[in-house]
């Protein structure tokens, strides 16, 4: 599963730490997510999408 977190973070001018604080996770989790090394829970995916005011499928790109 790919995601647009890094791109959206840059667009919203947020650091990894800012985003981590907003969704209440450690900064390392954001790093792992951006690298595609971790698939978030539905709740975390929802929280991240909400920070960017988008739908989950606009932030996380599911592949067949």
């Amino acid at each position: 599963m790919k995601n647009r977190i890094k791109e959206l973070r840059a667009r919203f001018d947020l650091t990894q730490q800012d985003l981590a604080i907003k969704v209440n996770v450690r900064r390392e989790t954001i790093v792992f997510l951006e690298k595609g090394k971790y698939n978030p829970s539905l709740k975390l995916a929802y929280d991240i999408a909400r920070v960017f005011d988008m739908a989950i499928e606009e932030v996380f790109l599911f592949e067949e």
């Binding site: 730490q17 981590a20 209440n24 450690r26 900064r27 989790t29 090394k37 971790y38 975390l44």
Partner: protein, 141 residues
């Protein structure tokens, strides 16, 4: 106490107690034994140092408003625990075989100690690998 700190405390305590038992029960004054004792003490010191470093880092993050643990850290902890359980089963099976067949002529108490030490290191190793190397990506079916 959250995150890695409780397991780290338990591992340090187990290693310290087993180390004391090993070196107290069978004190050999050879150079090899002294070196082994020194290496063991250094490893314990490194472990305690790592704990202090992690605690300092976490406390700094806590001040910034970041949580000490989250779903990824819990995921890593569960996976490290699961790996340790299955590897430990194999280690204990090997130690049991050594004991039953009296292969290396090692006292039972030492076999117990070695088993405990090995389990601790398997956990530390798997936790480190998972924490820094990733390996937490679940493949989609």
């Amino acid at each position: 106490m959250k995150g890695i700190f409780l397991p780290l405390l338990a591992i340090t305590a187990v290693l310290a107690v087993t180390g004391i038992q090993i070196f107290q029960v069978d004190p050999v004054d050879s150079a090899g034994s002294t070196a082994a004792e020194a290496i063991y003490v250094i490893m314990l010191a490194v472990l305690i140092g790592l704990g202090i470093l992690l605690a300092a880092r976490r406390s700094k993050e806590l001040k910034k408003g970041l949580p000490v643990e989250d779903e990824l850290s819990r995921n890593i902890m569960h996976r490290a625990g699961s790996i340790t359980f299955f590897v430990s089963l194999i280690i204990w099976l090997i130690l049991l075989y050594i004991e039953v067949h009296d292969i290396f002529n090692i006292k039972t108490m030492f076999l117990f100690a070695y088993g405990l030490i090995a389990s601790c290191f398997v956990f530390l190793f798997s936790w480190t690998i998972l924490n820094f190397g990733g390996a937490v990506h679940e493949e989609q079916d």
